[in-house]
């Protein structure tokens, strides 16, 4: 899967879920600090990413996700 494609799909979910501007959804953006998400928002986001990319993200891995870039990296490395 091309990196750009993953980024676009992740962006769309983040924008929908968190109601933020697309321009703010950059790889270095932290969900909590920059995108104003609380921990429950992140849980929900992770579940939506699981649906979108047909993945199962363990609780341990989900806890490590802090930035948009973390999500992209995770998906790249777990999706064949």
């Amino acid at each position: 899967m091309a990196e750009d494609d993953v980024l676009e799909r992740v962006k769309k979910i983040v924008v929908d879920r968190l109601g933020v501007d697309e321009a703010d959804v950059k790889p270095e953006a932290s969900f909590k600090e920059d995108l104003d998400a609380d921990s429950l928002d992140i849980v929900e986001l992770v579940m939506e990413l699981e649906d979108e990319f047909n993945l199962e993200i363990s609780d341990e891995d989900a806890e490590k996700i802090q930035t948009v870039g973390d999500v992209i990296t995770y998906i790249q490395s777990h999706k064949s």
Partner: protein, 248 residues
Amino acid sequence: MILKEKVALVTGASRGIGKAIALELAREGASVIVNYSGNKSRAEETASAIEALGAEALPYQCDVSNEADVQEMVKTAVKKFGHLDIVVNNAGITRDGLLMRMKEADWDAVLNTNLKGVFLVTKAALRPMIRQKQGKIINIASVVGILGNASQANYAAAKAGVIGLTKASAREMASKGITVNAVAPGFIVTDMTDELPEEVKEKMQNDIPLGRPGTPEDVAKVVRFLASEDSGYMTGQILNVDGGMAMQ
């Protein structure tokens, strides 16, 4: 029928209050996962009674204090029915005895089933409920968790814990459209209360303002209300169904 197309998981549904709840929800049109721990034939009886009412039933054996098994149960339910709308955390056991004589194993067994079980089933069910952006969780507490009861330190602690857990999960999930409420039954005629010594039963009955013990159906009707849209603006509440034993 107020619960048409709804899917409900009722733990400890092979007999007693759980069975009455499973039947009441089925009567309103819900499909019911009949969870049980050991009594397969009683669970199958509950399931047949549900089917006789024209609703779907799935008997499912699982110890609610085992996380992996609970996760599997919820996954199976969602796979079979497509969604999960109502969870009734009813499974409970007693291991009564004076605190001074209570064995650690009796404490652990009651806390594991009656309190940890509620946590684990709720945790597993929240996943599909968050996805659906709606859900109703109903925990069966007890008047004993409010008033205490001699010889039931473990049971009282677990049920008081259920009340705290109900309120905490209600606050946590409110923004996701998931409500969490509890019912606190008083002295209800079931196999569980049948085991109590006669003098305890007599004393309990004397403490009931309405002058009679309750039936499992008395509890099931209040659960039906909490499972329906009629209670849509309620969350984090504890409803006593105890003939007036505890008035708050």
